[in-house]
Amino acid sequence: MARTDAEIIELFKTAVFEVDNKKLGDVTQQTTLASLGLDSVQTMEVIGAMEEKLNVQFPDEDLATLKSIGDLMNLIHRLSRA
């Protein structure tokens, strides 16, 4: 099912909260994953939580190029079209 960008951002915020008990402020397409204060294991936990919520699997080789929320959105849109 296709998701809007706003929905994806909300899901993302929920995932970060579940992983790190942390409420994020403004998150935009330009927000980088590195700026959220998560370490590498926590980042992967968030990715895993997103997969679960969206019922998709992000291909491993795409993760190497994932840097911003916008990148994540593009990946999700691409997977939901596939």
């Binding site: 590195a34 080789e61 993760l63 990148d71």
Partner: protein, 609 residues
């Protein structure tokens, strides 16, 4: 417990592998990221490996040649690795480019490992190959990059028989310590068979009929590869492999698969115990049962008693025995394992007096209110091996005295590949110098730090751990993510601390850290650099890289990348690597066409790709 003694006839790992080829009742099960099974009996595993070995011979590889491997999926990794071993080709496992971002650093390390090992061929997967092609022109001696599906094709032709001796290299294990100067530990057929026996029979007292290993550990790392692939082959113990990425994304999968497959043995580093415990509530579905686990080994990084306790409590309701947790100690230079805590006892700790440890280098049990440190016991070494504590003059120290941990015995690997200088520094008079600080107590080893990281301030030695322990007490600092080191000052060394802050930490954190160290140890800190979570350099297995932290601090790079490397910068990096890759592939192809004229072998290879 009755133990099968037939393994004693194997002189090399290859002997053991071929003997496992007769076992049809047990084997390895590889799980995909969707948890779909792909199962092989040991007989099927060995048959497939031999087929891949024949392919490698046909590609021109001969005994002793190195084969670099970048294969993220466990099934193809294991079959290809074993395939190389069947024909005496020496695999060089490398980690895949899967971490988010960080492609520049990855390519640099990959190139150095390829050049150092002088691998003739790199085998990878279709998904990863596009990014690796840029290595083709750069890495010394690398003749070609192939994808693993070529080795999986039928091979209706004979191979050439190969015999190996115990002193022949079986594979190269690159240590993840330093990126500028990677060193490949030469694991020989002999050191491997001895360490595998020590692990499976002396340490785990394994019974092949009832044991089952479950592992998500990466196979390019010694604990995953030797502990769960090579040693179980020697002992004919069945194993189930979870993709490493599956665990990192969904930590519940580890214990869920232990429950589903009735696992009896599993191992992981300390951080994974914390992660699994955090998500344990989600494991507790109906029928979730880990009561068959008899060993949950913990090693590969410093072990924290509090983490083990949390894990133990989290899975107790699902039947985890309090005696299953087993701390252990090892390193690649010892092939893998140097000591295991005794079975069926659970972990134990020793709380020592910090002042005596720091000032007199003696571990004395703490009393009363004195400052103390709790250390986890890592057991004693295996029969036929020796573990001792040595002072800087090479004298063996008595019980309770702190010094360098040294190890001797048939498990010691054959030094570093084509690096006699580093080998001489690591192995002296038969003793492997681990570089770890620790002490023995009734034969049981306690590891307390790394030698090379000792900080000398005004002529006095300080263990960085002692300083880091104080810093970790400051709220706002992430536990286990602190590095203390000294830099050269004008007259004397100066103390620097780099620490990861929790995201909600305020700007006053650096001052608080300075105060904490001053109050506890009387040391003045020259500079405190607070970095965001994940800001400290770590190895692919998550260990802090102290020397890299120091060099990053000294060059001014540390703490800066997170501010400048935005999304676009990363995209540019990826694009640049892909472009370089494509160009290199083109050049390589052109190069091959010209080489065709030289040998029929090249003609065959050029025509096939």
């Amino acid at each position: 417990m009755p133990v099968d003694q037939s393994y004693l006839g194997d002189a090399t790992f290859l002997d053991a592998l071929l003997r496992a080829g007769e076992v049809t009742s047990r084997g390895f099960t590889f799980l995909s990221s969707d948890l779909e099974e792909s199962a092989y009996s040991f007989a099927e595993l060995v048959a497939e490996a031999r087929k891949r070995g024949r392919h490698l011979q046909r590609l021109g590889l001969r005994k002793g040649d190195r084969l670099a491997m970048v294969i993220p999926e466990s099934e193809d990794f294991v079959l290809t690795f074993l395939g190389a071993v069947t024909v005496g080709v020496v695999p060089v496992p490398m980690y895949p480019p899967l971490a988010l971002g960080k492609l520049d650093g990855y390519m640099e390390t990959a190139e150095r490992i390829l050049s150092t090992s002088r691998a003739r061929l790199l085998v990878t997967t279709k998904k990863v190959a596009p990014i690796l092609w840029s290595l083709a022109g750069k890495a010394q001696g690398l003749e070609d990059i192939i994808t693993v599906d070529r080795l999986a094709e039928p091979a209706p032709f004979d191979g050439e028989p190969v015999s190996v001796s115990p002193s022949d290299p079986c594979f190269l294990q690159f240590t993840s310590g330093s990126t500028s100067d990677p060193k490949g530990v030469v694991v020989t057929h002999g050191s491997l068979i001895h360490n595998a026996r020590a692990i499976m029979f002396d340490g785990l007292q394994s019974t092949p009929e009832t044991d089952k290993g479950v592992s998500w550990l990466p196979l390019y790392h010694d604990m995953g590869l030797i502990g769960f692939v090579l040693s179980p082959i020697v002992a004919h113990v069945a194993c189930v492999f979870i993709q490493t990425m599956s665990f990192v994304k969904r930590p519940t999968v580890w214990m869920d698969m232990v429950s589903k497959y009735k696992g009896t043995i599993t191992f992981a580093p300390n951080f994974a115990f914390a992660l699994a415990a955090k998500y344990a509530a989600r494991n507790n579905k109906e029928g979730f049962d880990v009561s068959r686990l008899r060993v949950v080994g913990c090693g590969a990084e410093p072990i924290h008693a509090a983490t083990l306790k949390k894990f133990s409590e989290a899975f107790a309701p699902a039947g985890l025995s309090p005696h299953a947790i087993m701390p252990c100690y090892g390193m690649a230079e010892a092939t893998l394992a140097m000591s295991f805590d005794p079975l069926d006892r659970g972990y134990s700790t020793l709380t020592i007096d910090r002042e005596t440890y720091e000032n007199d280098h003696v571990a004395k049990p703490a009393e009363g209110d004195a400052a103390k440190v709790e250390l986890v016991a890592c057991g004693s070494t295996f029969p036929g091996h020796q573990l001792a504590i040595m002072d800087p003059d090479g004298k063996i120290l008595p019980d309770g005295h702190v010094g360098e941990i040294v190890f001797a015995g048939p498990s010691v690997a054959n030094g570093y590949f084509e690096n006699p200088e580093a080998t001489r520094a690591a192995i002296k008079d038969g003793w492997l110098h681990t570089g770890d600080l620790g002490f023995l107590r009734d034969g049981v080893v306690f590891v307390s730090g790394r030698m090379k990281d000792l900080i000398i301030l005004n002529g006095r030695n300080y263990h960085p751990q002692a300083i880091e322990w104080e810093v970790e007490k400051v709220s706002g600092i992430r536990k286990g993510n602190v590095v203390a080191f000294a830099v050269r000052g004008e007259d004397t060394e100066k103390l620097v601390i780099v620490a990861e802050a929790r995201k909600d930490a305020g700007p006053e954190l650096a001052e608080q850290v300075k105060d904490a160290v001053k109050n506890a140890l009387g040391l003045s800190v020259h500079e405190v650099l607070v970095v965001p979570p994940g800001g400290l350099p770590k190895t692919s297995s998550g260990k802090l890289q102290r020397r890299k932290t120091r060099s990053g601090f000294e060059s001014g790079e540390l703490g800066r990348e997170n501010r400048t490397l935005g999304s676009n910068a990363t995209k540019a990096t990826v694009a640049r690597h892909l472009t370089k890759s494509m160009m290199a592939k083109l050049r390589h192809r052109v190069g091959r066409v010209t080489r065709v004229l030289r040998s029929p072998m090249d003609l065959m290879r050029a025509g096939r790709s």
